[in-house]
Symmetry: C2
Subunit: 216 residues, 2 copies
DNA sequence: TTTAATTTGTTAATTTTTAAACAAAACCTT
DNA sequence: AAGGTTTTGTTTAAAAATTAACAAATTAAA
């Protein structure tokens, strides 16, 4: 399980870069908090936990924070990422240009369908059977799983076998992995359903309030 | 904020459908727990909280659970969803066929680039300026935001103004919305960074353990 | 019919996460 | 240089989420 504080640290980092680009050199917990949507206390607590220290009254030095966070997140080197499955999502990810700015590089894609091979010239695309070999050659540690549900666990197993330690899973399956392999699931449908639930809940609530007022 | 228990309920539902298709009529908390990756107690607690009741010794009736969960998630009617931004992610979502199985329908797409209009025949695509009108006409409550960072807040505001109550946000921005509008963020980069952190952490840990053993 | 086995559902305990409070430090003004 | 103000950082408190524990119910078997 990924801790919430690390997820926030990643957000702080993006925010700090933004403020740095805007020309700021220092920042207060209050500002960061506002930007991320948490309390200033939360920011200070997070920083404190990772030993990121500021200056009382003068706030935090942005460059200083960034240096320490970059070290924490191993941003000194570029991280190789492989992608299994070149369907709709896979293709979109290949097109995406934001990885390299964040020291991540999609080094190879894999698919079972030969028609998809080499069609996208951005990254080399191989047959899925070559995945273990390429993972080992590239020494990739992170994989994106965007294959159909039916083969997701199987492809996952091959990734793990070849040394992948973190998997971003787009398939609607709960993957079984050894405990030293972290899985992060993304399901657009699930998120939308949760949003629908929330939106209906608030309207239900409002209707109730209305009725309550009428009775008075 | 979306509660964790609702997110799990959505997962349980998918799992129940799977078991129903496999021919099962009843299921135990233990089975569901295993499938979702939580404890059986968690499953029972979640069910209890939403008043989903089973039979002691005989477990839960799948159809019964599904009926109640469907009601809870308002699965009786199809929910209209609109999509702003037809870039990489937007296009992938338009192609995605899984919405309709889950009672969700992408009813319209919007973009500022005329070249993207009507290119994808799956759904009607309009100019972004027509978005408020279409949202109102369709009475859509849920929107997907897949526009560039620079205009995300602006497009979000237009959505909210037109009556959208839930936003799935792919832009790397913390959107500011009224409190009756729920936002759910998806950031592939952030997730990958978190995975990288985790993978490095576990290897760091292992190296430490090795050193520790050597010292003995 | 009684006993044993099994599974739910609720209550209690624990852990994790978030928020509040406040002392200490740094800066600014007078 | 003194006093007031602001912001950090730690400690304490509160809230939320998870886990554990166990009684009650139901079924199956003896």
């Amino acid at each position: 399980m990924i801790k919430k504080n690390i997820q926030r640290i990643i957000q702080y980092r993006m925010c700090l870069l933004k403020f740095q680009n805007l020309g700021f050199e220092r920042i207060f917990s209050y500002t960061l908090a506002q930007e991320i949507g948490v309390s200033p206390e939360q920011v200070r607590k997070d920083f404190s936990q990772f030993n990121l220290r500021g200056n009382k009254k003068a706030g935090y030095k942005i460059q200083d924070l960034l240096d320490k966070i970059n070290e924490l997140l191993h941003k000194e080197d570029i991280h190789k990422i492989i992608l299994a499955g070149l369907g709709n999502i896979g293709k979109a990810l290949v097109q995406y240009k934001g990885f390299i700015n964040r020291n991540m590089q999609l080094v190879a894609g894999f698919d079972i369908d030969p028609a998809k091979l080499k069609k996208n010239c951005r990254i080399p695309v191989f047959h899925i059977d070559d995945m273990p070999k390429v993972i080992r050659e590239e020494k990739a540690r992170i994989g994106i799983l965007a294959v159909p549900e039916q083969v997701a666990q199987e492809v996952c197993n091959q990734m793990v076998e070849a040394g992948i330690k973190g998997i971003l899973n787009f398939a609607p399956v709960m993957l079984k992995t050894p405990e030293d392999v972290t899985v992060q699931n993304i399901s657009v449908c699930n998120e939308l359903e949760a949003l629908i639930y929330m939106s209906e809940k608030t309207t239900d609530k409002k209707e109730k309030e209305k009725k309550g007022k009428k009775r008075k």
